[in-house]
Amino acid sequence: MKYTEDHEWLREDGDLVVVGITEHASTQLGDVVFVELPEPETKVAKGDEIVVIESVKAASDIVAPVDGEIVEVNDDLADNPGLVNEDPLGAAWFFKMKVEDMSQLDDFMTEDEYKDMIE
């Protein structure tokens, strides 16, 4: 698992990358009440705002961590946005991306580096 400065986690799954947000981020957001996901087959560039998360407090964005194409989104989150608080690292993944150049992931943080950042 790799971590971004935007509090996203990235997990390699074959030639896909699965993306979610960290437990720290979900705690900071508070209770999540709405998640808006991109359409599958959307080409995205690193930094594009592609997911909207609304918590009881405010709206925030999730950005595409790398260049690639969205191939699958987690529709469970539309019906049950609270999953983001209950299981941020597992059931509450947001989308899977096809990434041509996996070396884009090399620069992201390891778990230890991420923990150092949030402390």
Binding site: V33, F34, E36, V56, A59, N85
Partner: protein
């Protein structure tokens, strides 16, 4: 930014795991370990304890010793009937300005030989200056700095507070009284701002933590932050000053005419005689050009403050408060729309992140109130 003030319960909040945020010049708890959603639901089912000590508690004492003189002088600042307010009773009101806007909303209680007023934290210095300037011939105005204010809200508030002060069980909605708790004088009103039955309790600063701890030791009481206070009041259709009402909104635009008693209206015993009366009395008869309404978005996406509202292609208003309602399990908003589209059931759209999403004008409260009348 100037240094933030702290309430007498600050240390207690920290020890209870509160996340503190700046609010109206104070460092206040926005939520505790339960989180906003569970805190909200707990209050609706049991009893929630809120620290509202940041609000301004003000004594208005008539120089003559006759509370009617204070009430009469006060009526020159507000469109409420205070001469008719009985001893031991409280009323919701608002200061108006010459343009007919609302300078602040407040609670006014008749405590026999004086008035007791509670105003919003962000407005209290302005309000006290206003009261002092307007009332000084008739009254002494004193902003108290030595009392905390706790709110205990929810269907189990009565059984909880009555364990400490049995007499509060007999109070009705908007009653006020002075009670002894273990040698401490509590000023209690049966009121609140959540749409639930409950109490607001003014307690000497030195005993505030002891009272909070005595209540929190009870199974039915949980401590609740400002986050849930906001979603509770919005579900109850209640205005947040500075968001839903302000110096530019008139009481009729804000759908608050229920708080203007007959005696102050056209043809009443004490018609007018408050700032902005010309406009407000006219709007009471003829309506206003826009109206505060409830808005229920169709999907799950909340329409937050600032969301523009449309009737077809025409912009007809905007949202002033919007959030997710934990009890109604849906997003909810309130805002202002042109009177022509303010009828309950009118279909509108709200622009969220560039998309026009369907929403319906809805009656408030979104969840029926649970007061002990």
């Amino acid at each position: 930014m100037s240094e933030l003030a702290r309430t007498p319960l600050y240390e207690l909040h920290s020890s209870l795991g509160a996340r503190m945020v700046p609010f109206a010049g104070y460092e206040m708890p926005v939520q505790y370990a339960l989180g906003v959603m569970k805190e909200h639901l707990w209050t609706r089912e049991h009893a929630g304890l809120f620290d509202v000590s940041h609000m301004g508690q003000v004594l208005v004492r008539p120089r003559s010793g006759d509370v009617a003189d204070a009430a009469r002088a006060y009526e020159a600042m507000v469109p409420q009937a205070l001469l008719g307010l009985g001893e031991g009773r409280q009323r919701y009101g608002f200061f108006t300005n010459d343009a007919g806007g609302i300078e602040d909303d407040l609670m006014i209680a008749n405590r026999g030989d004086h008035l007791f007023v509670v105003v919003n934290a962000a407005c209290k210095d302005k309000d006290v200056a206003h009261m002092t300037a307007q009332l000084s011939d008739a009254c002494e105005v004193e902003l108290l700095d030595d009392r905390a204010l706790l709110a205990l809200q929810g269907p189990e508030a009565e059984q909880a507070l009555a364990r400490l002060v049995p007499a509060v069980a007999a109070m009705r909605f908007m009653d006020v009284g002075v009670f002894d708790w273990d040698g401490t004088e509590l000023w209690v009103s049966r009121s609140g701002y959540t749409g639930e039955d409950g109490y607001e309790v003014s307690v000497p600063e030195a005993r505030a933590v002891a009272l909070a701890e005595a209540l929190l030791a009870m199974d039915e009481v949980e401590v609740i932050g400002l986050g849930a206070r906001d979603s509770l009041r919005l579900e109850a259709g209640l205005c947040l000053y500075g968001s839903d009402i302000d110096e530019t909104t008139s009481p009729v635009e804000a759908a608050l005419e229920w708080a203007i008693q007959k005696a102050r209206r056209k043809g009443g015993d004490r018609e007018g005689g408050f700032p902005g009366a010309d406009r407000i009395l006219s709007e009471l008869e003829n309506g206003a050009a826009r109206r505060r309404v409830g808005i229920l978005p169709e999907g799950r996406a909340p329409m937050r403050a600032g969301t523009a509202l449309f009737d077809g292609a025409t912009e007809v208003g905007h949202v002033t408060s919007g959030a997710f309602g934990p009890s109604i399990e849906a997003p909810m908003s309130m805002g202002y729309v042109a009177t022509g589209v303010s009828e309950t059931g009118t279909a509108l759209t709200g622009e969220v992140r560039g998309k026009r999403l369907p929403a319906t004008v809805a009656a408030m409260p979104f969840r029926p109130a649970n007061f002990k009348r």
